[in-house]
């Protein structure tokens, strides 16, 4: 995932470099020159700046096996961004009450509350905070519930949006994650307000554990696909 994020940056930078035909700077102070920094990042950066670790250490999704997961001392989740075509493994890094923060070695994190995304960091377009108590109530059988989302706009100001959510569909749909099959129900929760709507899918077992989900985070990032390993 780091690689792809890095490439996004590269795409933003490309016109700069084309326009200026840069040379890399050298010496400790050269790093203070924004132009020199750019050139360094683009020539050696992608490999040097930790784009690889998650893939090499933990393996990308297809390289992970059940044995690898079992052998690790910490829990793992897989987080994918379908719009960007990337997936990364995230390690459990901390908990604040029911909210667990999962983090990748290249500096991306997702915070989940009972499997529902309440925050992201390092994706560029990030969910700063969320209140998912309404969605949790809906999944437990309530007719409708609220969802509050906070993001930062381009000026670093907080934007708060409120949605109303309800279950639109429930259907038995077992999932298999790393050779392990779970007897789950797929629940479609649709949230909306005056400016738009989105649908989240949760694959939930009888005990209420969400094993797989596809949750809309915010425009600019799109959906996160989360699997509990």
């Amino acid at each position: 995932m780091g690689t792809v994020l890095e490439m996004r940056a590269t795409r933003i930078l490309a016109p700069l470099l084309i326009g200026l035909g840069l040379l890399a700077g050298c010496g400790p102070l050269a790093g203070e020159n924004p132009l020199a920094g750019l050139a360094t990042r683009l020539t050696g950066g992608a490999a040097a700046e930790g784009a690889a670790p998650a893939g090499q250490v933990l393996g990308a999704g297809q390289m992970l096996t059940r044995e690898v997961v079992e052998s690790l001392p910490t829990d793992l989740i897989l987080v994918g961004v379908p719009d960007r075509g990337v997936t990364a493994a995230l390690l459990r890094a901390g908990a604040n009450g029911p909210r667990e923060t999962w983090i990748s070695q290249d500096g991306i994190s997702a915070t989940l509350e009972a499997g529902l995304v309440v925050a992201t960091r390092g994706f560029g377009f990030d969910l700063m905070a969320a209140d998912v108590s309404g969605i949790r109530a809906v999944l437990r059988g309530a007719e409708s519930g609220g969802y509050v989302r906070e993001t930062l706009d381009g000026r670093d100001r907080v934007q708060r949006e409120t949605f109303t959510c309800a279950v639109a569909e429930r259907e038995a749909d077992p999932v298999t994650i790393l050779d392990r099959r779970y007897d789950t129900t797929r629940v479609l929760v649709v949230c909306g307000n005056d400016s738009g709507r989105f649908g989240n899918r949760y694959w939930i077992d009888r005990a209420g554990t969400i094993w797989r989900s596809q949750q809309f985070v915010l425009p600019g990032l799109g959906y996160l696909r989360v699997e509990k390993l």
Binding site: R8, A9, I12, L13, A14, P15, L16, L20, G21, L22, L23, C26, G27, P28, L29, A30, G31, E32, N33, P34, L35, A36, G37, L38, R41, A93, G94, N96, G97, R99, T101, I103, G107, I108, S109, T111, V118, A119, R121, G122, F123, G124, D126, M128, A129, A130, D131, V148, E150, T151, L152, D153, G154, R155, D156, R157, V158, S195, P219, G220
Partner: protein, 703 residues
């Protein structure tokens, strides 16, 4: 020290893809050949979105206009224009072709409603020589999703074709005589002279393509009289094509005789390609158990202080934050640090606070954070650990954590354990630089690319020796041109000579000391080759309480003019110059500054500046300087004025960095009202760590 100037700004323009999905306007208006919201040559009552910058280049029949338009507020916009007019003065005369700078203002009086049109009033070229001057009152109404009509009345240029007598009886409108200094507010011209009607229609063919027809009330009277401008018809037709939201191309057939071409790039400082930026995720907050929270102290035998200090220092170093000192007690921790990575000091505070939740024992409830810049502790923010634990990732956390934070003066240096993170000594660098000179005399664009060698020796956190030498590789600064006559000493007029002869040249070579002199008092002293054109001594005092929106400063300099070769020698001109300054943060992003004092040419006067600063680091503003130099002595432009833009590099790159680039576009840089450029002026060093700036940037505390 700023290394490259316009290059990044221009690259940002090219690199930006502008507003994000969901921000598209119903039917964005197009721009005129003057770079203003409008039809082809005539304005409409439309406005850009708040904060937008539109850069336009338009050309037809001897008219070349480069314009930057900034939507200052929702209703007010302003433009700065550099134009070349081949027909304004008779061919062969000294001023042919005529190069001219001009400023406009526009204000939208009424918003478009279901029945009423939008209405705007505009002053074009109200502050320049008056070559393009014209005023208008215009109304625009969208009749169907495909059809928009505009009608208005104009004076000056906009009243020069098929005009009628002035309805207010103000028939006398003095004309600009080439060679006059110009540059004053043209009060004797505004809304005077003949009045004429103009109008037009826009038809939207597709989302990106519109057809435009207009009836122009500009007769190009002077251009016809003095040049070979052909005016066959008042009707102009054209099209506007917008292949992407931020790029617009225009093609038109003007005045029955000429093809016109126009390109406009728009840039929205309020939107960012990279979202909140690609800054890596912070360490999550560690939440204490009930026992740890209730503890009054901890077992220092099991967890010695130095291990805690070392953990804090190491963890924050990985985040680009150098911890200078730590003070630990049973219930509180004080950390003094220098943030070298994040533009927003609030974001750095959030990072420090989260690391502290992981690093200090549970009995420590209060975090006191002291940001440092140039060796000066700026302030102390007091945060409650329990609140940090409670608010992480919760809606409302930004407001609540700001409300719970306390801001005050930093504590004493005594009591802090030195972490040894200050790396003094010698550092050097070799890097490319790019420089762009815009609107220099009759050379609208000049550029240079070369190599810059920099060196710095930090003797103490407060005392720095620094220098830089540049050598150009490719340059078009090869001809200084002629230096115009003036009764004033050559204090800035000859700056082009430095660019030509000072290659290689010493950009600066200084010893600078910054320090805190009292509770709210800061000081700076700088000695050496201060800038390209002057060396000498500069001393400054600044009074700025941490929670104050007001700051007061005093600066005194003795400056000697450097040799043109930009080596170590000096010329036979020296001056004592200095200012008393007042800075005020009005809130809502408005920031003002007034400087009163003596300028480089020995003239006495004041500079007034007003900037719109966005929370994300962008700033766009303007200033003017009035001194006891008369308009005649000042020369073209009458007095110094200009616009200035600051672009944060993290906005451009998406990567966290404290770098920014600033550019100033002046009407014409001359000798009156010229100030010394000294690096490290106190206000800019101090203010980011004080309460008003921290509060404005608090959105990034949790990022």
């Amino acid at each position: 020290m700023q290394v490259c100037r316009f290059s990044i700004v221009l690259a940002a323009l090219v690199g930006s893809t502008g507003p994000m999905a969901g921000q598209t306007l119903d039917w964005p208006g197009s721009y005129t050949l003057y770079g203003t919201p409008g039809l082809l040559d005539m304005p409409t009552a439309g406005s850009d979105p708040d904060g937008r910058i539109a850069v336009t280049l338009g050309h037809f029949d001897g008219q070349l206009r480069g314009t930057i338009t900034f939507q200052v507020t929702d209703r007010l916009s302003g433009s700065f224009r550099y134009g070349r007019n081949d027909d304004y003065v008779p061919e062969g005369s000294e001023d042919d072709p005529l190069f001219d700078r001009s400023f406009d203002l526009r204000y939208r009086l009424l918003d478009e409603g279901p029945l009423l049109p939008a209405v705007a009033v505009g002053l074009q070229d109200f502050l320049g020589t008056g070559v393009y001057s014209g005023e208008y009152l215009v109304a625009t109404k969208t009749l169907t999703p495909q059809l928009r009509v505009t009608g208005g009345v104009g004076w000056g240029r906009f009243g020069s074709f098929n005009g009628v007598d002035n309805p207010f009886g103000l028939d006398d409108r003095p004309v600009y005589t080439v060679g006059d200094p110009g540059g004053d507010v043209n009060f004797e011209q505004l809304f005077r002279g003949d009045m004429a009607a103009f109008g037009g229609v826009e038809y939207r063919v597709t989302d990106g393509l519109s057809l435009i027809a207009e009836y122009s009330s500009d007769g190009y009277v002077t251009e016809i009289a003095n040049g070979d401008f052909t005016h066959e018809s008042p009707w102009n037709i054209g099209l506007s094509y917008r292949p992407r939201p931020n790029y617009e191309l225009g093609l038109a057939y003007m005045y029955g005789s000429e093809l016109a071409l126009r390109g406009t790039i728009t840039l929205d400082p309020t939107s960012r390609n990279s979202g909140t930026g690609l800054d890596s995720a912070p360490l999550p907050v560690f939440v204490r158990g009930a026992d740890a929270r209730a503890a009054r102290t901890w077992d220092r035998g099991a967890i010695p202080d130095d291990r805690i200090v070392s953990a804090i220092t190491t963890a924050l170093a990985a985040d680009g934050i150098a911890v200078r000192g730590v003070e630990l007690s049973d219930r509180a921790v004080r950390v003094r640090y220098e943030n070298t990575r994040y533009r927003s000091e609030a974001q750095a505070m959030g990072r420090v606070a989260r690391v502290l939740t992981n690093a200090v024992p549970g009995s420590v409830e209060t975090f006191r954070l002291e940001p440092v810049r140039r060796g000066i502790p700026l302030s102390q923010a007091t945060l409650s650990r329990s609140e940090i634990e409670r608010l992480e990732n919760r809606p409302g956390a930004v407001e609540a954590s700001l409300a719970a934070a306390g801001f005050g003066a930093p504590g004493p240096t005594a009591g802090l354990t030195d972490t040894g993170s200050f790396e003094g000594g010698f550092k050097w660098g070799l890097a490319p630089y790019g420089e762009l000179g815009l609107f220099d005399g009759n050379d609208p664009v000049r550029g240079e690319i070369g190599i810059e060698a920099t060196a710095r020796y930090d003797a103490t956190p407060n005392l720095t020796f620094a220098g830089a030498i540049r050598k150009s590789v490719v340059t078009s600064f090869d001809d200084p041109g002629s230096i115009s006559d003036s009764t004033l000493p050559e204090v800035r007029r000859d700056r082009a000579v430095y660019a030509v002869e000072g290659d290689p040249g010493i950009e600066y070579l200084t010893m600078a000391s910054h320090g805190r002199l009292g509770a709210d008092l800061y000081g700076r002293a700088t000695v050496g080759y201060l800038e390209r054109m002057y060396g000498g001594v500069s001393a400054e005092l600044l009074w700025k309480p941490v929670d104050s929106r007001l700051a007061l400063g005093a600066e005194l300099n003795y400056a000697v003019k450097r040799d043109y070769d930009m080596l170590l020698g000096f010329q036979d001109y020296d001056v004592v110059t200095g200012h008393l300054s007042a800075y005020y943060d009005f809130g809502a992003g408005w920031h003002g500054q007034v400087d009163v004092g003596r300028y480089l040419a020995g003239d006495v006067g004041a500079t007034v500046g007003l900037d719109r600063e966005f929370e994300n680091g962008w700033s766009v503003g303007g200033y003017f300087t009035l001194t006891d130099v008369s308009a005649e002595d000042f020369g073209e432009g009458s007095f110094d004025k200009g616009i200035r833009v600051t672009v944060p590099i993290d906005w451009v790159l998406g990567q966290p960095t404290r770098r920014e680039v600033s550019a100033t576009l002046t009407s014409l840089s001359r000798d009156g009202g010229a100030r010394l450029n000294v690096d490290g002026r106190l206000y800019e060093v101090i203010r980011d760590g004080h309460e008003p700036a921290l509060a404005e940037g608090w959105g990034r505390f949790w990022r």
